[in-house]
């Protein structure tokens, strides 16, 4: 299936990316070629095959949850220290409602 510029615009919207016109053109061509390549999977009959999300995770007892024990967290000042626009106890973002 080929990807159109409208598809690229729709996907960019879903992915929160403000693409330039040039990027839109470029991705339309490149994604079309990648998508036609990945469609080779359709040659395989997977009717009776179960999907796999993790390699050794499913049904494996070696992976378990940790004990539900209270441990110290980072703390507010450390967690906020990298915010591009932060105050003492908050992040600041542009207006949400116009």
């Amino acid at each position: 299936m080929s990807i159109t510029k409208q598809d690229v615009e729709k996907i960019a919207g879903l992915a929160n990316l403000a693409l330039s016109e040039e990027e839109k053109e470029c991705f339309t061509t490149q994604l079309s070629s990648i998508v036609s390549y990945i469609e080779k999977l359709n040659k395989l009959d997977t009717e009776d095959v179960l999907p796999m999300s993790h390699s050794t995770l499913s049904g494996d007892t070696l992976y378990t949850m940790r004990e539900d024990k209270l441990v110290a967290s980072l703390g507010q000042s450390k967690a906020l220290a990298n915010a591009p626009d932060g105050g003492e106890d908050h992040f600041r973002v542009p207006k949400v409602i116009g």
């Binding site: 996907i11 997977t46 095959v49 796999m52 390699s55 050794t56 450390k78 990298n82 591009p84």
Partner: protein, 486 residues
């Protein structure tokens, strides 16, 4: 102290014989980094002052040289997608240009507890997305064997650092081959452990069901020593395994591989494989036979679907993982925007590079309504088939041997125009990430042009000890003696 060719074993011997100190080794290391990094661009951030201070402390604390901590004084380079408390961690991206992590990755903490010195953070493809290190926002890394060629990626900086003796060992991350392929291009050992063997806590996520922290070294023994320290359960990573960590160093004591069954997948030796790589890998397999191993033919019938499968699964996971970079909590934020939605969009457009955006786009597409079943679900099913191929193969053999990469290191700029062609560099490595299996690059020769070639050994889940034992036996009998000059 000459640090060229320095290994953990040699360092510890010299310290025990009082021939050197950690401080001396550290100073020599930074002198070398300052001299060579401008040529290689392997490091994005050099941790000089703290390292020299730590070296002094380690020297002062050292009383009993008979019982050194496992990585005492060992210089380590860390790929810049692993969090290091107080040291900038950029992931090779503009979007994290000023990010200083408030905590360290578990693997990094374990190295430090074992006495290692973090000399710096290494260059990588942006968010580990790439096979040549040309996708870094901070410039390409040059291959120490030939500065006009790529070091491989995405952990290109770590591989180049170890190769050029800018650190004794290094950590990288491997989502589709990002440790093994650069190890192959640079002629060093590079291990991707079993999924879940090493904690991913503090490793900035790319493809969460594929990511694993790997180890680079100039010898199998160095790789084994680092793995021994970083492997094992971590309560902070629910996917880290409880499977017992065996004594890897004990496994290396045996140099006997008589009766070892080596599986040879014919799919990995067909069209697309460079003849010089083929010859050298086949020679390595012959050498294993000389040492007493037997070869058996195995089939990895779904290999030809691996790249397609991988690029659906990896990009789907990446598009979800990278949604967190929105200019709110950390990193770059676009200025002069009207509202919150625009801030997200422009921050991400300006902050991410082309390859990262391309993968976010592809991942978003394969997960989007109407396409999820056709692409993502389909890919998860094919993933099962790829894993089954390996399960079947391992009923007939103990390990599998095949090339790590289809070609030796290519020229800078050679594959940047066509993303799909670049993806094919990972053709032999991605299957292991999909199946969760451990794989090790073993340097096995050079092309006529003097470029390193690697053979990839693969073992069943959690059998890193077997991989390391076979690699060490090979290395001791067929050592790599070619001298690197930069």
């Amino acid at each position: 102290m000459d640090i060229v060719g320095l290994t953990i074993e040699k360092l510890h011997k010299a310290i025990k014989n009082k021939e050197t100190t950690v401080t001396e080794v550290c100073q020599a290391t930074f002198e070398r980094i300052e001299k060579l990094n401008p040529k290689l661009n392997a490091f994005l951030n050099i941790n000089k002052e703290k390292s020299l201070e730590r070296a002094k402390t380690l020297d002062a604390k050292l009383k009993n040289t008979l019982d050194l901590p496992p990585l005492f004084g060992v210089t380590v380079a860390i790929k810049d997608n692993m969090c290091t408390e107080g040291i900038t961690t950029t992931c090779g991206s503009k979007i994290l240009e000023n990010f200083v992590p408030p905590y360290s990755a578990t693997a990094v903490l374990r190295l430090e507890e074992a006495g290692a010195i973090i000399v710096g953070k290494t260059n990588c493809d942006e968010f580990a997305m790439g096979s040549s290190n040309e996708n870094s926002a901070y410039g390409v890394v040059h291959n120490p064997w030939d500065l006009t060629r790529v070091p491989g990626g995405s952990s290109g900086g770590s591989a180049a650092a170890v190769t050029a003796d800018l650190s004794i060992v290094a950590l990288g991350s491997d989502t589709g081959g990002s440790v093994r392929e650069p190890a192959s291009f640079c002629g060093i050992f590079g291990l991707k452990p079993t999924y879940g063997r090493v904690s991913r806590y503090g490793l900035v996520a790319f493809g969460s069901s594929l990511d694993q922290i790997g180890q680079f070294g100039k010898t199998t023994l160095d790789v084994a020593k680092v793995l021994s320290v970083v492997a094992g359960r971590d309560p902070n990573d629910a996917t880290s395994s409880n499977c017992e960590v065996p004594d890897y160093l004990a496994a290396l004591k045996s140099l006997d591989i008589k009766g070892l069954r080596v599986g040879i997948p014919k799919e990995a030796f067909g069209a697309g494989l460079n003849p010089e790589v083929k010859d050298n890998v086949e020679k390595a397999i012959k050498n294993l036979e000389t040492l007493g191993a037997t070869t058996v033919d195995v089939t990895l019938a779904h290999s030809e679907y691996a790249i397609a499968d991988y690029y659906i699964i990896a990009t789907a996971e990446a598009s979800a993982n990278l949604a967190r970079f929105d200019g709110v909590r950390y990193g770059f934020r676009s200025e002069n925007v009207k509202n919150l939605s625009d801030m997200y969009k422009y921050t991400r457009d300006l902050g991410f590079g082309a390859e990262v955006k391309r993968r976010i786009m592809l991942g978003t597409y394969v997960l989007s309504s109407g396409y999820y079943d056709a692409y993502y679900l389909k890919a998860q099913k094919v993933r099962t088939l790829i894993e089954q191929d390996f399960r079947n193969a391992f009923t007939k053999c103990d390990i599998i041997a095949m090339p790590t990469a289809p070609v030796p290191a290519f020229k800078l700029g050679e594959k940047t125009e066509d993303p799909l062609e670049m993806y094919l560099a990972d053709i032999y490595t991605v299957t292991l990430n999909l199946a969760g299996l451990p794989g090790l690059n073993v340097p096995c020769g050079f092309s006529q042009g003097g470029l390193p070639i690697g053979c990839q050994l693969v073992a069943p889940h959690f059998q890193e000890a077997k991989l390391l034992q076979v690699a060490n036996t090979y290395e001791q009998n067929y050592p790599n003696t070619k001298h690197l000059e930069i």
